[in-house]
Amino acid sequence: MTAPFKKNDDSVVVIIGTGAGGGVLANELAQRGVSVVSLEAGKRHLPEDYINDEWASFGQLAWLDARTTSGDWRVATDFSGLPTWIVKAVGGATVHWAGASLRFQPHEWKAKTNYGAVSGANLLDWPIDSKEMAPWYKKAEDKLGVTRTGGRKGLPGNNNFKVFEAGAKKLGYKYVHTGRMAINAEDYDGRTSCQQVGFCFQGCKYGAKWSAAYTDIPRGEATGNLEVREQSQVLRIEHDRSGKITGVVYADKNGKEQMQKARIVCVAGNSIESPRLLLNSASSKFPDGLANSSGQVGRNYMRHMTGSVYANFEKPVKMWRGTTMAGIITDESRHDPSRGFVGGYEMETLSIGLPFMAAFLDPGSWGREFATALDSYENMAGMWLVGEDMPQETNRVSLNHDVKDQFGLPAPNVHFDDHPNDIAMRNHAYKQGTAVYEAVGATRTFPTPPYPSTHNLGTNRMSKNPRDGVVNKWGQTHDIKNLFISDGSQFTTGAAENPTLTIVALAIRQADHIAKEMGRKNL
């Protein structure tokens, strides 16, 4: 059987979402001869469509369905209807991501063991470790063409990096370089090298940055085993009397409900939509939602400890020129409780254009203090701070029955309170980031609050014991054999690193497992 597949074909694997998790899984299964129907809520935008304009691109790519927020995080005040900054399009957030591709550090797979009891945190060890993941990370790095791995060279440093590097060295940091990036420093795998356009967040018009939209998806389609249905938003997952998944109901591009039967369903809709879908699929057999016997679906929402430091200098930096995030200091990513917190954080170069700087530098602020900060925009350098945040049961995605989406379904509410450990880490990171820039003559620095979340993790977490989480070490739900989770919502803990490489590595590993289990007739 080759694509397109019939809606009553119950031999197919249905994958919901086409991003770093779902998009890679679809291709990897298709390459192994498995028939796959991928349902993608968004449209297909390719490099020729991407727009070098922040707000116009945001309108083209961002996920803007109804959402609500609560909790003490500042995002709930500043961007109450926009808890996340993620993508609704074929390729998902891999269109938007900056390309930072870091492996977890070995100790981060076992946060509970290594950090000990942290009051108020729902820490747990992953049921897998760095040794088990090493070969999958290698495959992921080779797929993405990650610089400074597999013999690939690093990207050249842009102006923003040069300021960052000089400050880091003056401060005594030892590990600073242009990052391990899924952006080609040299032509690789049919994709060109980086032309230093900037606008990495708006989709790479040269295709120098890896995105599932123009790599894994078309390659999977070329096998004849993958059919991608665009503008097809899944509304619920259905099961039979025994509890086995039978298929999914989705709204097609005309808003009409369609049913696609399935042998296996893999959910990869990002950490907001994935748990929401399980909750919205509640039935008389599963009144609390699918795969939720633990009560953990939607809980332990993590979004990384984040913040930024921008700094103004006497002379021009022009930070927007070139790669958005090709620069890293890893000295602070270690676990060293003497700093007043467990876990660590990365410092990574970051630039945003004038329009987004106005929106994000200090949301809600006005007057001359704010305006003079932007007056020196040309002389500004910037970095992002990204570290491990603590999973908390009360940080969660739940259904808001008072607010409905365009299909009449309850919108997700995203509740987040910072854990004291997150706050201590952010304050430390602000201080160190400021010191980096002051070391090279910053005249004014800005400890900038978190943006709407780009790293959404943990809401269907992986656990050894079914009581502690939603999925097992393969991403298979503890409760339902033919239901898998394939995105960042599997994360047991968040580690300090940008999550995409780990999501991709887990997806390749999961594809291998599913194909083998199908072959053995276990699935």
């Binding site: 032309q195 356009v197 040269y206 930096v317 020129r321 329009p355 007057g367 305006a371 007056d375 040309e378």
Partner: protein, 174 residues
């Protein structure tokens, strides 16, 4: 803003003849607000000219960039001259003027020092009117492509081949 002048078919000279000075910056006539030197003029259809003039000053006081001309602030707020928005804008500007009178001035535009006007804005910053104007300026002012060069920002670069050969690493003062 010359396009606005063209549409109102007013020359700068005739414009100034018809107008009276309002505060230190603006001139207003029957249906327009203009710069005192008539560098730009905006015809208003639904708002009182003095209301639009006050709104323009309010916009500058919220995000004051001394090197950015009034015309960019005009562009950012001229959309409030709208039949559906006019009543709430008139009401909002009235509240500004009322607060100014409490401080002993004739109006918001009568306050010569920015600090006095900012005091008035601070007293009203929780209001829906203030937050609407402030929030609207984030895109209304800073997303004008013509304003970007005034901040050094270069905008799109793909059509020029990125910065690989155009200074992505040209910093020379470190």
């Amino acid at each position: 803003m010359t396009d606005v002048l063209d549409r109102t078919s007013m020359t700068r000279r005739s414009l100034l003849k018809q107008s009276v000075a309002l505060g230190v910056t603006f001139a207003v006539g029957g249906s327009f607000v203009a710069a005192n030197n008539a560098a730009w003029a905006l015809e208003v259809k639904h708002l009182k000219p003095s209301t639009m003039a006050t709104l323009i000053q309010m916009a500058r006081d919220i995000y004051p960039h001394d090197h950015v001309g009034d015309e960019y602030y005009v562009t950012a707020v001229k959309g409030y001259d709208d039949a559906k928005k006019a009543a709430s804008v008139e009401e909002g500007i009235s509240s500004l003027n009322a607060a100014a009178r409490k401080k002993g001035f004739k109006s918001y535009l009568d306050m010569g020092w920015e600090r006095d006007r900012v005091d008035v804005l601070r007293s009203l910053e929780k209001s829906k009117f203030f937050q609407t104007v402030r929030g609207g300026l984030i895109t209304g002012l800073y997303n004008q492509k013509t304003v970007w060069p005034l901040f050094g920002y270069e905008g799109e670069s793909y059509s020029k081949g990125g910065y690989i050969d155009r200074g992505f690493d040209d910093i020379n003062w470190l």
